[in-house]
């Protein structure tokens, strides 16, 4: 297991949201977490990244315990997190957004530059916008920047929170395809989604409800069996 979450309890302030979540992601997989609003998906990702404290339980990444580590150290270990709302620095230019993300890189600047060039070839729309403040990008371009920026840190596993949010269906489709390609190049993905379209690229699926992971299975099962999906969302 690349990422192993075991019986994690946590939440905001005094409010417990995660009541004991357990799940795992194997290297090279695309795993998706589905669930309605308020199911605790975002809270889970934030807890994994130590943006929220885990009250109890264990989170291991590549064999190392993450609970107790700082967010930036977790990122440095190769666990990327593309947060809800994208986390783009709006007042920075696109180039500067990349520069910040290069904080994670320990290799040469030339390497980083090469990577940026490669990412720009994946997302050509960004090329002409390098000197523009990110605030001026369209929603889709911002999502591309967020993805590209997260990839610049060369994560072993990238957690993505609501990739599809607020984007046109065509664009979502395009991004999903890109993710599939990236997986083929060796990146593992854990994707939180409300959009069931993710089932087309995911290997496995967990469904969360009320702060617990209720159902799990192969993505194909869910894709074929809409009934199962609906039931897992609504309970029963």
């Amino acid at each position: 297991m690349l990422l192993e979450i075991e019986n994690v309890v946590g939440g905001y302030g005094r409010v417990e949201i995660l009541h004991g979540v357990s799940l795992g992601v194997e290297e090279g997989e695309i795993v998706s977490i589905l669930g309605a609003n308020g199911a605790g998906k975002t809270t889970l990702l934030r807890t994994v990244s130590a943006l929220l404290p885990a009250w109890s339980g264990s989170i291991r990444f590549a064999g190392k315990e993450l609970v107790g580590m700082k967010t930036e150290s977790i990122a440095a270990r190769g666990l990327g997190h593309l947060p809800e709302g994208r986390g783009i620095f709006q007042m920075l230019t696109v180039q500067e957004n990349f520069d910040v993300a290069a904080s994670l890189r320990r290799d040469s600047r030339a390497e980083v530059r090469k990577d940026i060039a490669r990412l720009l070839s994946v997302f050509p729309a960004l090329t002409s916008k390098l000197k523009h403040p990110a605030a001026l990008l369209s929603g889709g371009q911002q999502q591309m920047l967020a993805l590209a920026r997260a990839l610049l840190g060369r994560p072993k596993l990238l957690m993505i929170d609501e990739l599809s949010f607020g984007l046109a269906a065509v664009l979502v489709e395009e991004l999903f395809t890109t993710i599939q390609q990236l997986r083929d190049q060796g990146t593992t993905f854990l994707i939180v989604e409300q959009n069931a379209g993710v089932l087309e690229i995911a290997d496995r699926v967990y469904v969360m409800r009320g702060g617990r992971n209720e159902v799990a299975g192969a993505a194909s099962e869910f894709a074929e069996n809409r009934d199962l999906l609906v039931r897992s969302y609504l309970g029963g």
Partner: protein
């Protein structure tokens, strides 16, 4: 008139530098540093001690600034970062506590008498366009300008870009591996050094005492606010505006009213332009 404007630019430069310091610290730590003036005084008193130990003025100032920067880093590590996730109010109160403690400590160490921090240009004047201009005024205004440019440049270096990223979105910056504690330490170090520069300039042209910072704090915060707490250039300009307004008020209306009038005018400007003096503040608001 010219004389009032030059005097205004001089005192305005003190406010500006403190305001720039406030903005830098605010960016990295998201805390309004009420201790800014007294932390700057640490550098001024150190410089004074080095001058008293017969070091050349320039060396003494550099050592004072370094000492101040180190002090800023220590405060950040020992106090601010420990409270980092506890929210605004505890941090705000903590800087008040730091300020009170520092004033008391400075009084204990350097005494209650006003001291003179003498620069090579102290008490020297130059005649310009029929006006008598103090050298310390010229040096202060020039230094303020240089620092404003330098800080603006800094915010486009890698470290500066990270600081801006942290200011805009702390969590997102951490998620891409920016080490908050380093950024915070850097900001407190640079910020305190800039504040120390302000206090060295101010105490050189007036007197050095542990209460020297009190009168500068409010105008400095007003300047920082006018800049929306984001733009060092805005803070710099706002500081100068306040300084000039104060002196013109003092000269043509009443010295008793000079601080109030400046404050009120700035508020009126804010009422007309809630975004402050700068475009960046506007951009930030739209986010």
């Amino acid at each position: 008139m010219l004389q009032y404007i030059i005097n205004g630019l001089q005192s305005g430069s003190w406010y500006s530098l403190l305001a720039v310091s406030i903005v830098i610290v605010m960016k990295a730590s998201d805390v309004p540093n009420f201790a800014v003036a007294n932390m700057g005084l640490v550098g001024a008193f150190l410089a004074y001690s080095f001058v008293s130990a017969h070091l050349p003025f320039g060396v003494a100032v550099v050592l004072g600034l370094l000492g101040a920067a180190l002090f800023g880093v220590i405060i950040d590590r020992a106090v601010i970062q420990r409270l980092g996730d506890k929210g605004h109010f505890p941090l705000l109160l903590m800087t008040i506590g730091i300020s009170l403690s520092l004033a008391a400590a400075l009084e204990l160490i350097w005494g209650t008498n006003s001291l003179s921090l003498n620069a090579p240009w102290s008490n020297k004047t130059v005649h310009l366009a029929g006006q008598i201009i103090n050298w310390d005024g010229i040096v202060t205004i020039a230094t303020g300008l240089v620092i404003a440019i330098a800080i603006t440049w800094f915010f486009h270096t890698t470290a500066g870009v990270r600081m801006r990223a942290v200011a805009e979105n702390r969590s997102a910056a951490r998620l891409v591996g920016v080490r908050i504690s380093r950024v915070s330490g850097l900001a407190w170090g640079i910020g305190t050094a800039v504040a120390a520069l302000a206090m060295i300039l101010q105490t050189e042209s007036s007197v050095l005492s542990y209460t020297a910072g009190d009168a500068l704090l409010v105008p400095a915060f007003v300047a920082a606010t006018a800049a929306g707490f984001t733009s060092p250039v805005g803070a710099y300009v706002a500081g100068l505006v306040i300084g000039v307004l104060e002196n013109l008020t003092g000269g043509y209306i009443s010295t008793a009213l000079q601080s109030v009038v400046a404050l009120v005018v700035v508020v009126l400007i804010l009422l007309l332009r809630p975004s402050g003096f700068t475009r960046t503040a506007l951009a930030r608001r739209e986010v």
